[in-house]
Structures are given as C-alpha cells and as structure tokens.
C-alpha cells in the first residue's frame, strides 16, 4: 500500500489540487480508500486527514471499504425502472446471495445502486468495474454473476458484440450503442478535423468573438448563456494564465447526448476547446468527464495524441506562431452537482464539489483562481461550425431567439429512444412522432430539473423562448404511476445529490419527499399539497441550480397533473389529522412487543 500511495503521489508532483486524480488512481490499484490509506495520503501530501476524507466521502464512487472483486453499479433512474430494473436487481441479488449495498460473502460481487449513468436509451444498464453493460435482463444478470464466480475476466463477461460506430473502436470496445436517429449539421454531419482551426488562425481573437456573438450562440448546458459574451469576459479578465473547461459531467437523468458526441466526434469538441483557447488567450484546456464515461479514457487520450501529432494541439497550432493549447482529461467520481460550473472547478481542484458563491464568476476567478471559461460539449461543437460556415449560415437555423440545432436525448416509453439533432423550434409532438411514442401521459422536458408537461402542452416548441431544455426528453406512458414512479424517484435523486451546503436544499428536499410519500400512501391532505407549492418560494433562494430546481418534479406535476394528487388525498373523517399514520407511529412499539 505504502509503495503505491507514494508512487501515485509522486506522479502528480505531490500537488494537493490533483487529489481527484490521486484518489482515482490509488483506488484503481487498491480497490478502496481505507482509513489507513487515507492517513497515508494525508501525510504524504502534508494536509489534515479530515481534508482528504471530506473529498473522498463526497463522491459516490470512492469506496472506504472493498466493494468486491466485481463491483456492480446498477442504475436506478426512472427510465431504468420503466425498462424492468427491479427484476434485474432481484436476479442479481438472488444469484450473488447478497442485497444491494453489500458485498457477497466470498468477496467476489458487490452490488450497489447508482444514479443515471447516461444510458437511458439502453436500460437497464449497469457499470461493472468501469465497463458498461446495457439492456440487462434477469437471465443476463444470472449469467454475469455465474461468470464472475467462474473466474471470467471483465472482457470475457462483456463478450464481443460491441456497439456501433466508435463503440467498436479497439480502444473503446463498449457494448454501448449510439442510437443516432437523426443527424443534424452542427454536430453529427461529416467534417474535416482541423479545417476550422486553420481558418481561425487567420483571424484575430476579437474577430472570432465577434463572429460567435453575431451568430448568437447560446450555451447548451442548460442555462443558455451567450457564449461570445462569456469568452469576451474571460479575454478581458486580467491575468496571463487562463483556462478552458469543457463540461462533460452530464449527470441530468435522461441525458446522454454528450456521451454520443464524445464517442463519435471528440475531435470536434477538442477543436472547439482550442478555438476557445485562441479567442480567450488560454493555453490550458481541461475536459471534465463524469466517471461513468471512463470507459472512453484510452480512446480520448489517443485522439488527443493524434491531434498533437497533427499540430492541432500543442505548440504552434496550425502553423500559427504563439498559438499554444493543450488539453488534459479530468475525471469526476460520481456527483451530479459537479456539473454546475463552479462545483466542477472545485472538483477539478481536488475538493468537494460544492458550488461557489457568485460573484466572482469563473470568467473572473475560476480554476486555481484564474479566469476560466466553462462550456458544454455541444456548445463547443456548434462554435466550430459557426467558424467554418459563418454566422449567417448558423442564423438560418432555429427560431428567433434560439439559433442553430439542439441535440436531444430521447428516452422512456417510445419505440426509438436515442439521439435526435434537430433545429430549435421542433414541437414536443414532432419529437414524440419521430420517436414512436403512443399513449403518452407526460413528457419530462430537460430532465428532473426541468418540467413535467401533459398533452395539453405537447404543441409547445423547444426553444429558449418557450420550452428551454438542456436536451433531454423522458417520455412517460399512460401505464405509469406519475407520482410514485417518476416524482418520488426524481425527488430522492435531488436529495442524494445535494452538496449539503444550503439549508433549504439539504433539508427541504427530504422533507418534501416525506410529504409526497404520505400523499402516495393515502394520508395526504390538501394542506400538504399547498405546503409543497409554497416551498417553491423557499427553494429559489438556494445557491445553485440544483437546490433551486429540486422541487420542480413536484411543483410542475402539481401544476399540470393536479387531479393525480387530489385523487390520493385522505378522504376519511376530517376531524382527524390525516397526516397522522397510526400504523407507522406504533411500528417500533409493535416490533418491541413482538420481540419481547
């Protein structure tokens, strides 16, 4: 252990801001980060042990104890449930002989839940030792456990039926499918790597920013902030050292577009980062990728190496003296909130992913307190195309306020879940038709933090001025129990993923969960529903988007599906307190009596 810890820390120059890399590498070697290992890391870095522990314990994938020779993280998102996850869980438990949250007695199999792993188009899916296993069935779960016990390797467990496109690349070899159902011009058409960069170096940084502004490119990560303006702020911010971050944390349940973009067109993303670097005057780029996509690591590293070889990265890019830019990969370790740009930066600095207070904004003081641009994967792809084809070309696509295209992740109750790149301005109905959805009860637009709409609103269009979305649509069929299958699942998700800093985010989400559970159990009152609505005002005072939107699943379903709530409210004797559940209240007593 000592030797491994020492070697890894040396590899990162004893730099505590590289703590995430250090922890990931050490866990790869040792299987977990025990108390003893942690003490050793703290000592070697010269920082208090509690400081190392506060980072470790923040992230879902860091283990304090061994999690089995094979660690199964079965996704428990809404869509996974729709696709039969419960039966898969039962099969894993029966075959392994242990429950979820535990390791089998022989230490071979560990079973754990995890939030959406970005495979909503091929659920139920699980990560097993970092590899993705899709479309699981109870029989396949049994087979996998048998294989693990029989001493098969991970590759043998996977088999050889790799997915389409670059998923079958020898450096990927993933069972994942792309499911690109509709290709658009911004992201998914053919393109010549380097063409945009070669054009860019003939322009000044001011001209580039002017062009991005003229095209009115807006961020695709959800907030829709004008990209040109962001770059300009960063360019004007004082300082020699600046950073470009690409946000590939993609944790919003139901979203998987960045996974497919990184699989099929990583060059496009890296080229966009280099262009941003040129425009802003930054030499360093960091692609922050969620841990769930670590199976792409060797491939992405290889693409970076190839681009360096072709002088599309590194020094004197595209023959331009003074244009230096390089990119490194930074992996997360399982925390949705790290997608929030300032939490992303904290995480990349080796800390807990707690969002920062603003101001200052990242463009003034970001990574290591230096001016930093954070852009979504898809935003950077759009910028490359804008520079290739011009602002006018870009402005011909989309609506008045939303130019260009949007890559949608469509999942749930439909025949063709997958990726659809469409111009802004398509209606929800258009998408439902393309995806082959019938008898649709509701659509969750923009993931849990977005809104849940009913058929009356399916005519609305996807655009910043109408239904703004980071790009996910979860289709919910009529057979689903909206409150139990969807709202409760999302609310639990936000509760688990809160960073724990703000009071109303940390505590209120769990309180709302209690009330929703009470309503589902038939003990809710009209006052409960009114309270849930009133809590929306409290929620908006949280620091970041997570806390601000955590009650959206509840609030938007009360707004759009009120009868579903009313139907479940307590209709018994109104003289009694409906929220009081006698059976639950005497549960401990009954248990004590029974065991006496």
């Amino acid at each position: 252990m000592d030797k491994i810890v020492t070697a890894v820390i040396k590899k990162y120059g004893g730099d505590e801001t590289r703590l995430m890399d250090i922890l990931i590498d050490i866990q790869d070697e040792l299987g977990c980060l025990s108390h003893e290992t942690t003490a050793h890391i703290a000592k070697a870095l010269g920082i208090p042990q509690v400081d190392v522990e506060q980072t470790i314990s923040f992230y879902h994938f860091f283990a304090r104890e061994p999690r089995g020779k094979f660690t199964v993280y079965l996704n428990d998102s809404v869509v996974a449930e729709f696709c039969g996850r419960a039966a898969v869980q039962a099969a894993f438990e029966a075959a392994a002989g242990c429950q979820f949250g535990a390791v089998s007695r022989d230490g071979v199999i560990g079973l754990f839940h995890t939030a959406c792993i970005g495979m909503s188009d091929q659920e139920p899916a699980a990560l097993i030792n970092g590899q993705v296993f899709t479309k699981l069935t109870p029989a396949r779960a049994q087979e996998l456990v048998a294989g693990m016990r029989a001493g098969q390797t991970l590759e043998e467990l996977k088999g050889k039926k790799y997915g389409d496109g670059e998923n079958a690349n020898p450096r990927v070899r993933a069972l994942v499918e792309n499911h690109i159902r509709r290709r658009g011009v911004m992201v998914f058409d053919a393109y010549q790597p380097g063409a945009a960069l070669r054009k860019v170096v003939t322009m000044s940084s001011g001209e580039i920013i002017a062009m991005v502004k003229a095209a009115s490119v807006r961020g695709r990560g959800g907030a829709g902030f004008p990209t040109g303006m962001k770059w300009e702020f960063a360019r004007k911010a004082p300082g020699d050292v600046k950073y470009i971050f690409c946000n590939a944390d993609e944790g919003e349940p139901g979203t998987f577009k960045d996974r497919v973009i990184l699989t099929e067109h990583p060059q496009l993303v890296f080229e966009g980062m280099a262009i941003a670097g040129y425009a802003v005057g930054a030499r360093h780029g960091i692609l922050y990728v969620r841990n769930e996509y670590r199976y792409l690591r060797a491939y992405l590293e290889h693409v970076l190496a190839e681009m360096r070889e072709k002088t599309l990265l590194g020094a004197i890019i595209a023959g331009k003296a003074g244009f230096h830019f390089d990119i490194k990969l930074q992996f997360g370790a399982g925390a949705y909130v790290c997608g929030e740009e300032s939490a992303l930066i904290e995480s990349a600095e080796g800390k807990r992913g707690e969002p920062r207070d603003r101001p200052p904004f990242p463009v003034e003081k970001g990574y290591l307190q230096k001016p930093t641009v954070v852009n979504n994967v898809e935003t950077l792809c759009s910028v490359v195309k804008v520079l290739l084809h011009g602002a006018e070309w870009y402005n011909r696509l989309g609506t008045e306020e939303s130019k260009g295209t949007k890559v949608l992740s469509v999942s749930g109750d439909c025949e063709r879940p997958g990726i659809y790149e469409v111009a802004w301005g398509f209606s929800v109905n258009d998408i439902l038709k393309m995806a082959g959805a019938h008898a649709t009860q509701a659509v969750q637009v923009g993931g849990p933090s977005g809104s849940c709409i009913g058929p009356a609103e399916f005519g609305r269009v996807l655009a910043y001025e109408d239904l703004a979305t980071g790009g996910s649509l979860i289709i919910i069929g009529q057979q689903r129990d909206l409150l139990k299958d969807v709202v409760l699942n999302f609310t639990k998700f936000f509760r688990d993923e809160s960073c724990g800093s703000c009071v109303p985010c940390r505590a209120l989400t769990g309180m709302a969960q209690i009330v929703v559970e009470r309503i589902i159990a038939g003990h809710g009152s009209a006052q409960d529903v009114a309270n849930l609505q009133a809590w929306a005002a409290i929620r908006k005072r949280n620091r970041c988007g997570l806390g601000q939107t955590a009650l959206n699943p509840i609030v938007t379903t009360i707004r759009n599906f009120r009868p579903l709530y009313d139907a479940r409210l307590y209709k018994g004797d109104e003289r009694f307190e409906p929220g009081f559940d006698l059976a639950a209240a005497v549960k401990d007593y009954e248990a004590a009596v029974a065991s006496a």
Binding site: V50, G500, S501, V503, A507, L508, A537, I538
Partner: protein, 231 residues
C-alpha cells in the same frame, strides 16, 4: 486611504468603505441583517441563506456581497422575512434540538433567532435523524444532533501550525462534521473554548465545563439577538 461609497438600504442612504461586507456595512448604518453561518473575521460561505437580501432586486446573500457605489439593497420584504423564518424552522426540524437541556441555551444563535422571528411550531416535518454524540476527544464533545452544518468551525478554527481541525464528511442531508485526531490532538483550553464560542449552537462543547453562567443570565437572555443594532 479607503474610499467611501454611497448606497441605499431600504431607501435609506448609507455610507461604507468600498468593498466592505454588506452585513457589516449595514450594521454600521444601524440596520440588522440576521446571519447564522457568517462569523466576523472568517471567510464567508453563504450557506445558511438567512442573510439573503435583494441587491438591485436580485436575491443574494449579504455575507458574500461587497458594497459598491450606487447599489440598492432591500433587507426586509415580507417574502424575505418569511423565508428567514422558514430557514430557522427547517433547521429545528432537521436536527434534534432539545433546548432546555443544552449548555448553549441562552447563548445559542439559532434559539435567539427563533425568538426574534417568533417561531412557535415548525411548519415542516421533523426528520428526527439518528445522530451521534462523540466524546472521544480529550477536550471537546461533539453533539451532532445540534449541528446546523454552518461550517464556522471548519473555516475559523486552526491549530498552532495553521491546520484545520474540522472538516465536512459526506454530502447532502448526510453531511457531518469530522474532527481530525491528529491536528486536534494537543489543542489548548483556549482553542477549545474558541471552537465552542464560534459554534452558533451547542454542537461543540468543552469537556468538564458547564453552567458557569446560569440560564437566564446568558448572552441573549440579557439582550435579544440583533437588538444592539436594530430593534
């Protein structure tokens, strides 16, 4: 020389040094903005959200806001006051607060704010979390039941070598404060007292020390919180 800026709070023209923390600047101008996670002299964190005010109409925590020329601040709209009361109630329902038996009763800021905001029965479901009382440390007792995760101890307490003694563990509604066995090993009585005093509630207590000041004669028994600044 420090330059002064002019701005308004609740319509009143105020003066303060440029870049001063809004909470302090308001105080100097006779306006009380309630705080809980904030503590003079340590970096602000903006986590309890109680000091949320409207700066040019936009909600912002006053502890993390610096005053600039011409800004307009509103500190007490009905919505903000209701929000503050809710946060206090949520904190009571989130932990296990049994005030009558707490050593901090009377000098607890959470309790004092509850009085100021006339909190009676919380309108939020009690979570009744199962939390530990940690007593392994030679000088400190950590009662997790009462911790409001304000992070004052994390941000403010350092040993002689400048190292932190406290840190967060876990996340979300499971966050806890951990004490580092190494860096807290040889702390002085004075530092132990400082940690206890800095904690707004009774979550950090000194061992073998208590009831020096009788209940009824403690800090906020004598003077309700904030009343030294604004009634």
């Amino acid at each position: 020389m420090a330059s002064f800026v002019k701005f308004t709070i609740n319509g009143k023209t105020c003066l303060a040094e440029e870049g001063a923390q809004l909470v302090e600047a308001a105080k100097e101008n006779g306006i009380y903005i309630p705080t809980l996670c904030n503590y003079p002299g340590i970096p602000p964190k903006g986590s309890c959200r109680i000091c949320t005010v409207l700066v040019n109409g936009i909600g912002q925590t006053a502890c993390t806001t610096k005053v600039v020329e011409g800004m307009t601040v509103q500190t007490s709209t009905p919505e903000l006051e209701e929000f503050r009361k809710s946060v206090i109630e949520i904190l009571f329902a989130e932990g296990n607060h049994l005030c009558p038996s707490c050593e901090k009763s009377g000098s607890c800021e959470l309790q004092a704010l509850a009085y100021r905001y006339r909190v009676t029965v919380p309108h939020f479901p009690y979570l009744f979390p199962k939390r530990d009382v940690e007593a392994w440390h030679p000088k400190l007792v950590k009662d997790h039941n009462r911790c409001i995760q304000c992070k004052r101890c994390i941000r403010g307490i350092r040993n002689g070598k400048g190292q932190a003694l406290f840190a967060f563990g876990k996340r979300g509604d499971k966050v806890v404060i951990n004490i580092d066995p190494e860096t807290s090993r040889d702390i002085s009585d004075a530092l132990a007292q400082e940690a206890m005093d800095m904690c707004p509630v009774g979550a950090i207590l000194r061992k073998e020390k208590g009831f020096d000041v009788p209940i009824g004669k403690r800090k906020f028994d004598r003077q309700p919180i904030g009343s030294d600044i604004q009634a």
